[in-house]
Every structure is written in structure tokens, then in C-alpha cells.
């Protein structure tokens, strides 16, 4: 029973990590169709932001909260620069964007290596996040609860922004019908830029949150990028709901597979499941209904 609950939580926690990693992609890839392979490197930038902020602010708790904000800005700005300089030229060539952003990812990784040194750096977790809390009779690490919370807050905030604010309306309008949106007086260029800023900013936040779990090094992003894309693909494009469901389902599946087999086999099984799933629903879990053939 204990094992069941702890695995259930492990799955949810893994799902929240996947969700954080994939949420920004759901915006940039899902809403805009841009395959940003440098997304992982934006997470890496967020993680290094946490490291830099902590070296400026000694209190680990304060610095973590500050980092979440600064990380959003750092990720967002990197994204904005990428959008303005490269991606905006290539909206009609999504596959080429993939390659270009992979080049950007390479450069960012090497830059991190040259700036911060090749060895990993350490970000201390604040005291109020160390240890575990008792939930349903099992010890749940506080850091994982915190990450779950960050993920939920991010999704909620994003959903509200998309649903309620003028910006959200503009984004949705642009996604659903770019030409019509343009005709209605929406600057689709400005909307694209803002969307990319927000999506990349969330990557930065994810990076900050991940410092609580793992290592901070130049290759931090590469560990998440493939999984994050799979989440978005399985979730379906254009709807946050799909991404959320896919992230938690894949998290739970991975935890289950890993418990009953090994971590390596679990990864392989997960891939098989996703390919099989896309056979049944090539458009992903949740999809926008459009009249297009594709």
C-alpha cells in the first residue's frame, strides 16, 4: 500500500516536472508551431539564474523566490531575442526552425560552459523545503510538493491569462485564424513576440524549480527536451488541457514502469506507448477542431 501511494506521488511529481518543462513548449510549439530545441537551454539559463541570484542573496528562501521571477525574465528575454533575430524569419519553415534552434542550443551550452565552468554548480534549497512532510502516512519530500505547486500555479496563471486577458484573446485569435485576427486589427507580430516571451519565460521558471531536484550544469536542458516534446505531441496541439493531462499520464506511466522494471526499460516502454497512442489519435489527446486537412 505504502509503495502504491509513494509511487503514485512519484508519478505525480514526475508529471509536474514534465509539465513545467513542456508548458512553455505548449505555447511556442503548440500555439505557434515553432519547434524550439533551445527550450531546454532556456531552462538551463533559468537554473544558472538561480545560482547567480543565490550568490547575491544569501538567504536561500528569499533567493529562490526572487529567482523564480528573475528566471522568468531571463528565459523570456532569451526567447524574445531568439524570436526577433531568427524565428520570426522562419515561421513558414518549422522544420528549419528546429535545426536553427538546435544550433542555438549548442552555442548556449558551450557559452554556459565557458562562463560558469564545466563542473556542475550547486544551489542550496531553503530550510523550509528540506526534509519531508507526512501525507497519508508517507513521507513526501517538500521540494517535490513545491514543484507540484509551481507547476499548478504556472498552468493556472497561463490558463487565466489565455482565457481572460486581452493578450490571451489576441493569442487565441492568432492561433485560430491568423489572417482573420490580422484583419481585425490585431498585430500578429507583436502577439507572436509576446507568446514567445511568455513560453520561454516559463522555461526559465522550470529551470529554477529544477535546481531543487537535480544538478545544474551546461547539459541540464538536454535531459528534458525530448520528453517535453513528447508530452506536447501526445497532449495535442493548441490546448493546454491536453498538455496537462499528457504530462501527468506520462509521469504516472513512467513511475509505474520504472517501479516494475528498470529505469532504462521504462524509458523505452514509454516511447512505445506514445507511438502506439499516436496511431490511435494522431492529433494527440485534445485537439483544436479545424477544417484543415492536416
Amino acid at each position: 500500500m505504502d509503495a502504491l501511494f509513494s509511487q503514485l506521488f512519484a508519478g505525480l511529481s514526475l508529471g509536474s516536472v514534465l509539465l513545467l518543462a513542456a508548458l512553455g513548449l505548449a505555447l511556442t510549439f503548440g500555439q505557434m508551431g515553432v519547434i524550439n530545441m533551445a527550450h531546454g537551454e532556456f531552462m538551463m539559463a533559468g537554473a544558472y539564474t538561480a545560482y547567480v541570484v543565490q550568490s547575491l542573496i544569501a538567504d536561500a528562501g528569499v533567493s529562490l523566490l526572487v529567482s523564480l521571477v528573475v528566471g522568468f525574465l531571463v528565459g523570456g528575454l532569451l526567447g524574445l531575442v531568439l524570436e526577433v533575430t531568427l524565428v520570426s524569419r522562419m515561421y513558414r519553415r518549422p522544420l528549419d526552425t528546429l535545426l536553427v534552434t538546435w544550433g542555438v542550443a549548442l552555442v548556449l551550452q558551450q557559452a554556459a560552459r565557458d562562463i560558469f565552468g564545466a563542473p556542475n554548480v550547486d544551489v542550496r534549497a531553503p530550510a523550509w523545503l528540506s526534509g519531508a512532510v507526512e501525507l497519508f502516512g508517507l513521507g513526501v519530500p517538500r521540494t517535490r510538493l513545491f514543484i507540484l505547486l509551481v507547476a499548478v500555479v504556472c498552468v493556472t496563471a497561463l490558463a487565466l491569462v489565455l482565457k481572460l486577458t486581452p493578450l490571451g484573446r489576441r493569442i487565441r485569435a492568432t492561433v485560430q485564424n491568423r489572417d482573420l485576427a490580422e484583419t481585425s486589427g490585431i498585430s500578429t507580430r507583436a502577439t507572436d513576440r509576446l507568446t514567445f516571451f511568455v513560453g520561454s519565460g516559463i522555461a526559465g521558471v522550470a529551470g529554477v524549480a529544477l535546481t531543487l531536484l537535480g544538478s545544474i550544469g551546461p547539459t541540464l536542458g538536454t535531459a528534458y527536451i525530448v520528453d517535453a516534446f513528447l508530452v506536447v505531441v501526445a497532449g495535442g496541439i493548441g490546448q493546454l488541457k491536453g498538455t496537462v493531462i499528457a504530462a501527468f499520464s506520462l509521469g504516472l506511466l513512467q513511475a509505474t514502469f520504472e517501479y516494475s522494471t528498470t529505469a532504462s526499460i521504462a524509458k523505452v516502454l514509454l516511447f512505445v506507448v506514445i507511438v502506439a497512442f499516436l496511431q490511435v489519435r494522431p492529433q494527440g489527446l485534445v485537439s483544436l477542431r479545424t477544417r484543415s486537412l492536416a
Binding site: F29, G33, I35, L86, R89, M90, Y91, R92, R93, P94, L95, D96, L98, L99, V100, W102, G103, V104, A105, L106, V107, Q109, Q110, R113, D114, N177, R178, T222, V226, F229, L230, V233, T262, S264, I265, K267, V268, F271, V272, I274, V275, L278, Q279, P282, T290, S292, L293, A294
Partner: protein, 393 residues
């Protein structure tokens, strides 16, 4: 319908117009043959010739990618899988051959339980091995291709799936150490179909085989692209729906191109093994799979020789630049990718007059974008003469 292999003759008028092109192609092949078979072995040291042989193997993968991606629009981020399949099959055979009839490869004695698993056994036979090197990648690619393309999963989705495949394959190889050698991979081969691998003469033979195979592959791609199949492939890339409306099955066309690319990658991997002396998961994962694309993108993805020359040049640059400036190489590789793909999608081949345009009004377009997402599909970016212009509803 099966469009492959129907290398139809063009009509007489077109044929006459193409004569100049044919002469140039033949001349190109002749020059390449002289350079590869005559000049290179005479000028290069054993070591450099070995490197060139290795580059030829990598270029074989590039030729396949040129077909699948450049002509077919399928961005495959997982060619390392097929390269690895070919490589591992060859390596398994070489290990078994070194162990002798009924023998057990050395690493299995060290890390495994000292017995050869059943699925290794068929590879004791050289014939089975050679057949498997081609058939296994083709079978996997066809299966995956059918699964994916018939469901009209394409563009970005296919790219991401193929990348995940590479990731999964590498993890699987690493995890099954007892039968695959784990991260160490398979290495320490002594002979290649009976020939001593330590002998420089045999190394030169391997180089010649690799160079010859590469040339043959380029010729096959040329044949394919001049057939109806080639036209269909390009048409599927540019306007898949229109091809479907014309009564063709785009999925079949794509699967064939993808399977050919897989076969090329498998053969490249198989020859890579005796030449380099090792195959390991580090050669098949996500990063090397994308690495294969660099040369193709730089050389010119939709040209005949672009992928080959690009791949050879990039491999050479990597070897010589990384010797002096290891960190610089990473920046350089990243920057090359960014600049070429963003600003010169046709690759270096689109610079100046290197690009060979067909004169018969059938422009072989190498600056065509990849598949365009539905919402952008209204505006074909490059005018096309083969397909009447118009907008998809």
C-alpha cells in the same frame, strides 16, 4: 501502387535537352572516381586514408538524409538508429567470427553469463549478416513509416518521434549490456570476413569498398530522382494533399524514401565498424543523429552532391578544427547550423553556379521550404512549374 523502381524514360524532347546534363553528371562521376580511387590512396597516409574511409561511411547516411529530408521533406532526427542497427549487426558478426565456430565473444564472458543468446546465432553466417544489414533497417523503417505516415503524422511530429526513437534505442543498447556490450559497445575486431584488420592493405581495401559504395549510393539516388518516383517524392514534399487527390498514396512514396535512407544508413554503419573498429551507443543517440544533418544542411539538402560533399567537409573540419580548438568547434558547429539553415536554406550548393538547374523547365528546386503547417500552406513560397499553382482550401 508502387512507384519505386519504375525508372521511366523521359520523352524524346526532354531527353535531348537533358543530354548536356547527363554528360556533366558522367564527368562528375568520373572525376569523383579518379579522386577517390586514384588520387586519395596515392597521396594520403594510411591514417588519413582511414579517416577518409570513416567520413565516407558518415556521408552514406547523409545521402539517405538528402533523399528523405531534402527531396521528401521528412526531417529524420533518428538516422543514428539505422546506422546503429547496421553497425551492431556487422559488429556482432565480426565478434562471432573472431570467437570462432561455436565460440563466445569475449565481452559476453566478462559481462554476461558466458553463453551466446539465440538471436545472435544467425549472425554467425556472413550471408545472413550482409542481408540483415540491409533488411533490418529497411524493415524497421517501413514498419515505423507505415505506422506514422499512413496516419498522416508528419512534419514536426515525425521529427520528434524519430528523435525519441534514437533516444530510446541508445538507452536500450546501454541497458542490455550482457548482449550489446553496454556503453562500451562492441570493439576489438581482428578480422573482416577472413581478412586481417591490422593489415594496412586490407584497410585500404576497406577504404575502396566504402568509397565505391558511396559512389553507388549517389548513383542510385540520381536514378531514383529521375524516375517518376522522384517526381512524386518532391510533389509529396511540396503539396501532399494534391498528390493524394491525384490518386497516389503519399504514404507509400514516403515510406519507400525513408526505407532507402534507412538502408543507406545501415550500410554506412556496417562499413563504419571494421574501419573505425568500434560501434557504441555514443554513435547512435540523439546528438550523433542530429550531427548527421549538419553536413546535409550545409552542403545543400536537395541536391545530388550537396549532402555528400557537405558531410565530408564537416567531418573533415571537425577532425582538424577540434584538434586545436575543442571549444571553438562547438561554437562553430552551432553557428554554421544557424547561419546556413536560417539564411541559406539551400546550403552552400545554392551559392553561385554550383547548383545544377535542369533546363527542361523542371527546375530542381533546392530552396524549397519543408512542409508548411496548415495555416501557412496557402502561400507556396517557391513557384513551381510541375504543379499548377493554386491555393488549398
Amino acid at each position: 501502387m508502387s512507384p519505386a523502381g519504375t525508372a521511366e524514360r523521359r520523352g524524346g524532347a526532354v531527353g535531348r535537352l537533358l543530354t548536356g546534363e547527363r554528360v556533366r553528371t558522367l564527368a562528375g562521376f568520373a572525376v569523383a572516381a579518379v579522386a577517390l580511387f586514384g588520387v586519395a590512396p596515392a597521396l594520403l597516409s594510411d591514417f588519413r586514408l582511414g579517416l577518409l574511409a570513416k567520413f565516407c561511411c558518415l556521408a552514406m547516411v547523409a545521402v539517405g538524409i538528402g533523399l528523405a529530408w531534402g527531396r521528401g521533406g521528412m526531417l529524420t532526427l533518428g538516422q543514428g538508429v539505422y546506422f546503429g542497427l547496421g553497425g551492431y549487426l556487422m559488429a556482432m558478426h565480426l565478434k562471432l567470427a573472431d570467437a570462432g565456430p561455436g565460440g563466445v565473444p569475449d565481452f559476453m564472458l566478462l559481462y554476461g553469463d558466458g553463453t551466446v543468446p539465440g538471436w545472435w546465432e544467425p549472425l554467425r553466417s556472413p550471408v545472413v549478416t550482409v542481408v540483415a544489414i540491409v533488411l533490418v533497417p529497411v524493415a524497421l523503417a517501413s514498419a515505423l513509416g507505415f505506422a506514422v505516415f499512413t496516419r498522416r503524422v508528419r512534419g514536426a511530429y515525425f521529427a520528434i518521434l524519430s528523435q525519441a526513437l534514437a533516444a530510446a534505442f541508445a538507452i536500450l543498447l546501454v541497458g542490455q549490456q550482457k548482449v550489446t556490450g553496454g556503453t562500451n559497445g562492441l570493439n576489438g575486431f581482428r578480422s573482416f570476413f577472413g581478412y586481417d584488420l591490422a593489415d594496412p592493405v586490407n584497410k585500404e581495401m576497406l577504404y575502396l569498398i566504402a568509397a565505391g559504395t558511396l559512389l553507388a549510393m549517389v548513383a542510385i539516388v540520381r536514378l531514383l530522382m529521375r524516375s517518376r518516383f522522384g517526381e512524386l517524392l518532391v510533389a509529396v514534399r511540396d503539396q501532399e494533399n494534391r498528390v493524394r487527390f491525384l490518386g497516389y498514396d503519399p504514404a507509400a512514396v514516403k515510406v519507400v524514401a525513408y526505407a532507402v535512407a534507412a538502408a543507406f544508413a545501415g550500410i554506412g554503419g556496417a562499413l563504419f565498424v571494421p574501419i573505425v573498429g568500434i560501434i557504441s551507443p555514443a554513435d547512435v543517440g540523439v546528438v550523433p543523429s542530429i550531427g548527421f544533418l549538419v553536413g546535409v544542411a550545409i552542403g545543400g539538402r536537395a541536391t545530388l552532391l550537396g549532402p555528400v560533399l557537405g558531410a565530408l567537409a564537416v567531418s573533415w573540419a571537425q577532425t582538424s578544427l577540434s584538434e586545436q580548438f575543442p571549444s571553438f568547434w562547438t561554437y562553430f558547429q552551432g553557428a554554421l547550423f544557424i547561419v546556413v539553415v536560417a539564411f541559406l536554406p539551400g546550403g552552400l550548393a545554392s551559392l553561385g553556379g554550383v547548383r545544377r538547374r535542369w533546363r527542361a523547365g523542371r527546375a530542381e528546386r533546392d530552396d524549397v521550404p519543408d512542409e508548411v503547417p496548415a495555416r501557412a500552406a496557402q502561400a507556396p513560397t517557391t513557384p513551381s512549374e510541375t504543379v499548377t499553382s493554386g491555393s488549398t482550401p
